[in-house]
Symmetry: C2
Subunit: 188 residues, 2 copies
């Protein structure tokens, strides 16, 4: 076995990067998150791991709504800026062009190829973090990223974060079809 | 705004693919998961969203341990196979070469560039899924993926899953340094 032990650490993984938005006292605020997951598909729910004190989380609680925006690689400067800059110190309301959907208070990012409007469903407190769960209310996708009714990941061009301090990566090429290529498996 | 509304659906995202392993009645079993996240870094914890009935979850509870393995693109057939095949119907114990770490009962995958040994910490039940939380006990990384003490994501060559039925993608190229490129941001 040619493996190195790293110890009790987080593993090196490539995680999706999202910009989470909420309105804080009437102004849009955004934070950058890579610790996120899907919680369920029916109904569709998204989970975000957030630090205990986050201005964006205050806004989520204030309005009961938030947004999850998927930046593309051209947005890497703004995305990283929202990660390294506290909303308590800098006004991030004008970093992006914002639009609102049906819920009226979740600031969606026009420049993002995918913008998801969510209703706050629950906050589960862990020792050092909170799991924020949102019900998806609407998904907005840039028209050029949709082909024959299906979203094209290469055109979305999402950002990935390499755990352990970066860097950010783009997505590569198609490897194989899912729920399909495994049929070729032959036991040893 | 040139955006299309998709409705109350899961958004198109590129998610990391992992093979989760546990011993079920003495035999290693593996399932493929893309709904996963980091829960905290200190102590390091991983969260997995799993369906209510999963053989691998039974094994986690049986032993109090499990593994999270990051397959590379060369493992796409086996990875997809473990996702489309029920451990109740097929014996998946010989799909991979397995090794064990300090905990003794979490089956780690030799072929995977990254294999994480976990202790089961908690299972939080949602309506349609369970959030399984594990404490990281040890991280094993293939020696060729470590350069000057830092893991190289390009060499790990992880698989990503495009939400909405696939396909699988590889990781692309470096876009920018994290916690750094955002300093170049200039307000509009």
């Amino acid at each position: 076995m040619a493996k190195v032990k790293l110890g009790k650490k987080l593993p090196p993984m490539a995680l999706p990067v999202v910009l989470v938005g909420s309105n804080c006292k009437g102004k849009a605020n955004f934070c950058t998150i890579a610790w996120m997951t899907i919680v369920d598909d029916e109904p569709p729910m998204i989970g975000l791991l957030m630090g205990k004190k986050r201005r964006t989380k205050d806004g989520m609680v204030e309005n009961g709504t938030f947004s999850v925006n998927i930046p593309d690689t051209s947005m890497v400067v703004e995305t990283d800026y929202c990660g390294i800059t506290s909303g308590g110190k800098k006004d991030k309301s004008r970093v992006f062009d914002v639009f609102y959907g049906e819920l009226g208070s979740a600031p969606l990012i026009s420049e993002a190829p995918v913008a998801v409007e969510c209703k706050l469903k629950d906050i589960i407190a862990f020792e050092g973090t909170d799991l924020v769960i949102g019900d998806v209310n609407e998904v907005y996708v840039e028209r050029k990223c949709v082909e024959k009714g299906k979203c094209h990941m290469g055109k979305i061009d999402p950002l990935l974060y390499a755990m352990g301090g970066g860097p950010y990566y783009s997505i590569g090429t198609k490897v194989a079809d899912a729920f399909s290529v495994g049929k070729r498996f032959k036991p040893k």
